[in-house]
């Protein structure tokens, strides 16, 4: 085989990647320094003006806060629930464990758009099952507008996000649990350690690297999540659940200010790049022993 053959074979894939990833990224970067609008002529270089407009916009800071809450709270809750289910499934109570494992992973395989619409109907103030259950149980009076109330809309999308992400955490934790050597538990039992102590001193330390990876992945994916929020609330009501990916669309395709939209997407990209680099440092390396 010639020395150049691998490069020739890789060529089409690299060209395709450059076309669909590198070119749009660079074009976006260029647009972020230009006055680009779909509704008026422009196109001149404006330096950092678009970035200044983004950081001057109170909606950016509100969206940034919402995104951080959505990403961190959503991921932490999903991790806790995922760990709980993984611990239950690890008990291996006959065939039911297999059935439960399959059932628990359903939310993960449902498209976020479909899930978003389903949650929208579940939380509907007049016809939703959530209000029906809450009022039937006497917990709350019916008719609460979960998605129509600026105080609860973000909380609702976080719940939907947790529901969608916890199965992934569960599967990863389950794999981690099954990799813990049984000898560690046996030795601890011989030493008289209670189940709680075994959990905190054996299980959790063994799951530390998986937890870090999951936390970072969850935050990265949530930071970038457009579908769930857009389908459920479109960032409303009155911007109370506005997150950065939806705001990029708002700037670019509602206000048609592509320059500002591009600047914001570069800001989001930079944040995600930082998180991704962190992930690469945290993720277990293949050559690690």
């Amino acid at each position: 085989m010639k020395k150049s053959t691998p490069y020739v074979l890789l060529g089409p894939a690299l060209l395709f990647t450059a076309f669909v990833l590198v070119y749009p990224l660079f074009q976006n970067l260029i647009n972020s320094f230009k006055d680009v609008s779909l509704v008026r002529s422009g196109g001149g270089w404006v330096g950092l003006r678009n970035y200044a407009h983004v950081f001057d916009d109170s909606l950016f800071w509100l969206s940034f806060r919402n995104t951080a809450v959505y990403a961190v709270a959503g991921t932490l809750l999903a991790l806790l629930i995922g760990l709980g289910f993984a611990l239950l499934l690890n008990l291996k109570i006959g065939r039911i464990s297999h059935v439960a494992a399959a059932l628990y992973t359903i939310p993960w395989v449902i498209s976020p758009v479909v899930a978003g619409f389903a949650w929208k109907w579940l939380l509907n103030d007049n016809f939703g099952i959530v209000n029906h259950w809450l009022s039937s149980a006497g917990i709350a009076r019916g008719g609460f507008a979960w998605l129509g109330d600026p105080r609860t809309a973000l909380f609702c999308v976080i719940v939907a996000r947790v529901w969608q992400f916890y199965p992934f955490a569960m599967v990863m934790f389950l794999a981690g649990l099954q990799a813990i050597p049984l000898e560690q538990y046996e030795a601890a039992a011989v030493d008289g350690a209670t189940p709680l102590r075994r959990f905190f001193h054996i299980t959790l330390p063994n799951l530390r690297s998986i937890s870090s990876v999951l936390l970072l992945l969850g935050v990265i994916w949530s930071f970038n999540d457009f579908n769930m929020v857009f389908v459920m609330t479109r960032g409303g009501p009155i911007n109370s659940s506005m997150v950065l990916p939806v705001l990029v669309r708002e700037f670019s395709f509602v206000h048609f200010d592509l320059g500002k939209g591009s600047a914001l997407s570069i800001v989001v990209f930079t944040l995600l790049l930082f998180l991704s680099l962190l992930y690469l440092r945290v993720a277990p390396r293949k050559d690690a022993t």
Binding site: L38, N124, N126, A145, G148, G236, P237, I238, F253, F256
Partner: protein, 427 residues
């Protein structure tokens, strides 16, 4: 050898499937929104057009009503887009100014064609000295009152603001006795910014409020009457609790569900609503009446303007087949075609004198009321930034005032400031 032959066969098939038929012009026609019945009628009309003009093939596409601006701007800016499109007439100014629509008055027979239409309908498609569309259907925003609930309560549809507020209060009830109102006087569309603005504007217009000055240089919707209009809704929401609490999340479909299930007594709608309600709840009836006016304007109840919306057929200025596109637009919008709006409930009002004055028109329910409302109605101001102002300024600030995040005065003043910055090109 066999591989070469197979490759040649695949290439031949690809070129055959991709290439246009010789001598046939392909016209792309985008339709935004519309009821299934209208879509079916359009398909039949296009089939008939293709039989009449064998050299023209029409490719129809159905697009989301909520995505009009995004889709058109994205395509037009790239120098692409459909040859023919039917959209709101208030896009005439915005897209006409941007050079995306072809001025139809440049076609030699335009003077003949324009005679088909009710003159003020055609005016809605005009921006500066050009006409950028042929009216497709007209819409006047009115108040729809749930007949079951109004009759049960023994009240008539309201004509004034105080009657409106009182009716909404009386029709807000806890019907199942759980201590929470499950029937509300009014439902508003809050989950769609454009839809919300289109429901606030009829009340502003009926109260004599101008969105902008006649010369389109000043913002005027924060006048005392403009603030009073928003305060009316804010009081209904915050004090009377007669507006559905979750309105900020509602889309048209959720509003329809509430109305059909007797959980909402009133809504601000148009001629499409009877078809929508009929589809969901056959046999359900409602009163369609003009939008109420302030108490001191009761003598102008039938004559004060509501919001007029018009759908028009326009032609892409970059179309390579302008003449063929023009033939298609005329065929879809001529007097004969317009009769379809009289014979079927297509969700809007006919726009030609011929159809509106036909004997069959007398049988159409609510038509005289809609024709009268349309006679006085006003469209959004013909300013290129009006859609941005309606969707991104009037709607969010109006919502903030209604739920009490800002006072009506603060909301309207801040909205006016923002709108001013938009028309001055500072935002």
């Amino acid at each position: 050898m066999r591989q070469k032959a197979l490759s040649a066969l695949i290439l031949a098939l690809i070129s055959l499937s991709c290439g246009p038929k010789t001598g046939v012009v392909e016209i792309h026609d985008w339709n935004f929104g519309g009821m299934p019945k209208l879509m079916e009628w359009l398909r039949q009309r296009v089939d008939s057009f293709e039989r009449r003009y064998p050299g023209i093939k029409v490719v129809q596409s159905q697009k989301s009503w909520n995505m009009i601006r995004e889709l058109l701007y994205a395509d037009f800016s790239a120098g692409a887009g459909p040859d023919v499109v039917n959209v709101h007439a208030n896009y005439a100014a915005e897209f006409g100014e941007a050079g995306h629509y072809y001025p139809l008055n440049k076609f030699p027979d335009f003077e003949e064609v324009r005679k088909w239409y009710v003159p003020h309908f055609l005016q809605s498609t005009r921006y500066k000295d050009n006409y950028y569309g042929l009216p497709s259907s007209a819409i006047a925003f009115v108040l729809v009152c749930n007949k079951d609930l109004f009759d049960k309560e023994g009240i008539a549809p309201p004509k004034t603001w105080s009657q409106f507020r009182e009716a909404a209060k009386r029709l807000t009830k806890d019907t199942d006795g759980d201590g929470v109102a499950d029937q509300h006087g009014l439902v508003l569309l809050g989950g769609d910014k454009g839809g919300f603005a289109y429901r606030l504007a009829p009340f502003l217009y009926k109260a004599g409020v101008n969105i902008m000055s006649e010369d389109l240089t000043r913002i005027e919707f924060n006048s005392p009457r403009g603030v009073a209009t928003v305060k009316l809704f804010a009081d209904m929401y915050q004090l009377d609790h007669s507006i559905t609490p979750g309105f900020l999340a509602y889309t048209l479909s959720e509003m329809n569900d509430l109305f059909c299930s007797n959980r909402a007594a009133m809504s601000i709608e148009g001629p499409w609503f009877r078809g929508m309600v009929g589809e969901k709840s056959p046999g359900k009836d409602f009163y369609a009446v003009p939008v109420p006016v302030p108490d001191d304007m009761v003598d102008q109840y039938d004559t004060a303007p509501t919001l007029q919306d018009m759908v028009m057929y326009s032609i892409n200025a970059r179309s390579k087949h302008l003449n063929e596109a023009w033939e298609l637009v005329k065929y879809l919008r001529n007097e004969e075609a317009d009769m379809a709006w009289i014979r079927n409930d297509l969700g809007a009002i006919a726009t030609t004198d011929y159809a509106l004055n036909s004997p069959e028109a007398k049988q159409v329910r609510d038509l005289p009321m809609y024709v009268n409302e349309l006679k006085h109605a006003r469209p959004w101001p013909a300013h290129p930034n009006i859609i941005a102002i309606a969707n991104n300024v009037i709607a969010p600030y109006g919502q903030k005032a209604i739920v009490g995040e800002l006072s009506p005065q603060e909301a309207m003043d801040q909205a006016a400031d923002e709108a001013r910055r938009i028309i001055e090109g500072k935002k």
